[in-house]
Symmetry: D2
Subunit: 354 residues, 4 copies
């Protein structure tokens, strides 16, 4: 995956130096729930600015003009996707529109920053990856959680062996609404966990089982997903739009230590427990189970806005020709798991090999 812009000798004239004044000029398509955060962060840093925002709703565009008087607004996204004044496009629209918008942007020589989940199908994701590769353009999928202090510290604890070999990753992500029309609760909430697992866990899942049920608008509003990994590692995700309470808790069990991540805690988001079980003896009834129960430790977690870091990272990757770790391939991994989960869900838990 050689993607650098400059390393390749013989770069042709067809590859203009787009970011020639050191400031990435961005267009943002979609100004609904998340769009304002995207605009604020890409507009609020030195190395990028938002040139234009597109939305179908004139009311949304009014809000843009109020908050960012110096940003151009339009309801014609084609214009933006083809404009020579735009270096990169952020696609912050419903998932079923991602493919067309990202494709057009790439075809017109623009880097893309796409909301999660990346696409509706793995085929779409693969086509975009191939296209970007060919055009030497960057794709970044907005897996925002990877830029939080919590996930970055968990990554450290896994990578440096603090937790030891992983036994399980069990996430509960439930709350009341917001219902989506076009996707079920798995596509809405599980991408967070799937992107985090893809980032944290070295091995890739081998098979997926999903169960769930629909109650109101014809799409599953509660779902449970099991991911089988090599070496008896297991993943589990519990997502629910019909919970009276909001829960954002992940348990990660390791051979050496265990971790609880409660993202709703203001301060002590991560707790690492010096707890474990050891088996001694060899026969079933000779087993001596010994429990270890020691201190708990809540490491400090950095409190910067994740999207701010991600926006800076996008600009850095584009300008310095780096491949982001949350690139199209990372997006594809998540889409592949969602696609498999959907298949399993429809067949009431039939295992889907990946």
């Amino acid at each position: 995956m050689a993607t650098s812009l400059s390393v390749e000798s013989g770069t042709k004239a067809s590859e203009p130096i787009r970011v020639n004044d050191g400031v990435l000029r961005m267009a943002v398509i979609g100004y609904g729930y998340w769009g304002p955060n995207i605009v604020r962060n890409f507009h609020g840093q030195d190395k990028s600015r938002v040139v234009a925002v597109c939305d179908k709703s004139s009311k949304s565009l009014d809000r843009v003009r109020h908050a960012f008087p110096d940003v151009r607004t339009t309801n014609d996204c084609k214009e933006l996707l083809t404009s020579p004044d735009i270096d990169a496009v952020a696609v912050v629209t419903p998932v079923w529109t991602h493919f067309e918008l990202a494709k057009t942007a790439l075809e017109n020589g623009k880097h893309v920053f796409v909301e999660k989940p990346f696409t509706c199908t793995t085929a779409q994701a693969e086509e975009l990856i191939e296209l970007a590769d060919r055009k030497k353009l960057k794709i970044m999928v907005d897996h925002t959680f990877l830029f939080t202090g919590a996930v970055r510290r968990i990554k450290e604890f896994i990578d440096n062996g603090t937790l030891g070999e992983l036994y399980y990753y069990d996430s509960m992500r439930v709350n009341l609404g917001l219902f989506q029309h076009d996707v079920n609760v798995l596509w809405d909430l599980a991408p967070h966990d799937l992107s985090i697992m893809d980032y944290l866990i070295k091995e890739k899942p081998e098979a997926v089982v999903a169960t769930g049920e629909r109650h109101l608008n014809g799409v599953a509003d509660i779902a449970f997903m099991t991911l089988y990994y090599p070496n008896n590692m297991i993943g589990h995700i519990n997502v629910n739009w019909l919970s009276p309470v909001k829960v954002r808790t992940t348990l990660i069990g390791g051979e050496k230590k265990m971790l609880v991540w409660n993202d709703l805690e203001a301060d002590e988001k991560l707790k690492i427990y010096d707890k474990g079980v050891q088996m001694n003896g060899d026969g079933v009834y000779d087993l001596l189970v010994s429990y270890r129960s020691g201190d708990m430790w809540a490491p400090r977690v950095e409190q910067v806005e994740a999207l701010k870091m991600e926006a800076a990272y996008f600009v850095d990757c584009v300008m310095n020709d780096k491949t982001p770790f949350n690139d199209g391939v990372a997006g594809l991994h998540v889409v592949r798991m969602l696609e498999a989960a959907d298949q399993s869900l429809q067949q009431k838990g039939k295992i889907i090999q990946l």
Copy 2:
């Protein structure tokens, strides 16, 4: 309070009036973790007394003699199971011994109180039920949770329509250990939830999917179970012996209200939320989702010891010839779901129709 078993005319001489002095004479087999509670409660009430306790371990019997100087101890359970001085036997031993012990007790004309899960297989459960029926004896399975103030209040809220039609029942029951040698984590922890669901929910589950993994001693130590019910009701149970934190939380989502039961809370175990979602409109994209978010209410939960109530209920059922709601059939329901879950678990989530 006509309590003799002989009320039924035509009863033969083979059915002696066992409880002739108004006090049920009990033997308790097994004095490990739970046995002391059984002895204390059956011994501590007016209408029953524990005549004898049997255990293989002489150390356990020492503990009996220390705590209950007036209770006979023995390591010969056969003697107790055949003794004419015993009216009823409490079987508080590992699950694989339940069937033989309960069968012998019933064959010798004794009522039985059996620890959960009832038996290892549905076939065993059915045989014991048939035997008790034939001998006109009572079986009670120790589904202690059904006697807690929390579960009894939840039952009220479901039966009187407070929650409305049920959407889901989602339970998390995780902690560090205690590892069992002979059963996996489903057989250890899920019977609590399965017996509660069997008690609370009018419909019976139609199919089961279970996933999980083993890490230490060859039996699953983490498992997830989905139960499909009629009318899109769904059940889910998350059990784990390798969790650094203890969690005992159940979410119950209803059409009208939603309930959270946190059994680890000292005071506010139940919280009822006046929250919900309503869909209006008919086309997919015309849907108007409206969220309702009102008060929360923590009803007072009675704080009597559940096992004390259950012991009194056992005596009442025996003396007054009542069929307990936690009888052999209730025990069978739980075993059937565990058996199905085991099959599913072994086939990595294959759905098992019930």
Copy 3:
């Protein structure tokens, strides 16, 4: 306290109709920690707009220009205080500057919105009240908490008799920092509680006792304040800049019900307990104490931004000539209690009669 602008016949030319176009023109003095919120809220509503912001720091003014490009900036507050284009001035500066700034504003015919605590001394507060009265201008002291959903609901529960006669009000308001240079922790944190108590409790305190200690910069960083009310009602405030954890919890004990307000809870900020104690019998040793312990109830609390409501209320009071409940007199009450607390603190708990 006749304060209307127009009702009085014979109003002289010196009292121009300031708010003639239906939009209150405001100047904000001070753009530190809280200033941005003041500007955002007064600028973000239809009936007022921020014409200019003044701050000594050019860096702060840069931030104003970035966030509010259409707002004029200056470091000369005199100019604003005398400008004929300004109807009202928000004083968002350190407390020792309030008096001079507010006085000049009033003298120049401007209504004032002053940060809490109102002034450094009761004498200053009284002078400003008298001046505003004479000039028929409004003073509002920024007791923001009075506009929160939580305090407004507590007020209802007290006013409608839900809690019954009040026994005590006990607040803990502690966290790490922020240290103030010019005031001690009482002047920094207690005004919240004092203004809330002044608003909620019909009776006024009769005496104050304060204790505390200094550890770092010569002003008390931890302090405890007791307020004696008529009828055995007692108030207590615990404030601390050196606490490792943030606590914002108030217990309010009433004859009929008891309330806990935890302002750090996202959802269930208020909990009302149907708990109480009753004494029967007349002799000391005949007393029968009976405890009542019933349900707990968490009423829904409205989640609007308090400062937004307050800003609208300020404009309404000015335009429609209403006396705000958080007027100069309310501000004076708080200052009087702080002044008394300071005296008591310096004399290690000597009681100060109010």
Copy 4:
């Protein structure tokens, strides 16, 4: 381990070697709320046994006989206090009876274990200390909390400098009831904190300020106590019998680290925060305040029953002639602070020098 009382030459015949068979023979006077725990622990260890229990209530004595069939019961405490078969007496009665009972016991050559608070007055405490001294007998005051895992670990963290110089000790100990007839809430709840502070803090308090109020039975049911220590260390205790929620939380602020002890937490009772404030610069307005906010750490706390440890320690002190750290002098310290607090309370916060 030569530890007999007879080591001192010149001991007269009037001082028999009482504990000659290696088992301390105890009488327990008072079998109300706490008495059963005292009997169970002194009876349940190898080196002591409870010979007799005395209580005025025959119902209480029935409970003794039920739970401890081998313990003699009586309602005549004089008999026990003079019996030659008793080595030591545990006084577990209301505080106003402690002095007479303990005095008689000491006069009759018995060691005493006295419930907290030690006595009603410092004069009484001093007389008992002098008497025990003269008779070479031990007094232990039941400051149970000193034997908890939590307090012992806090002592370590203070003694080994982990917390650094102490800034404050702030305890909140509130709940609904239990009302006492003969003492106010300070005498009921504050002895816990006062004994802990006496144990943990090297310096002794110099002055006390107490405020509070009565609402029901003529004694204060809510009270606040400030203790002034040398070097700007300050203590504060908040006790309340009319709180709807139970709180047992202590904040301890140190120069280097800060600690929160929540005794109601099952697992993480202690949390140590690597947080602090530092002042740099010398002028008031040049001060640079820097906050340090690092990890939190919850050290494992041993979970043995405190009273079990204390009972063993009492026997050890008696048998091996050691002076317990919770001796009469420790008890006197607590009584002195309570006495001063009462004086202050009655004079609405007047400072009382110690």
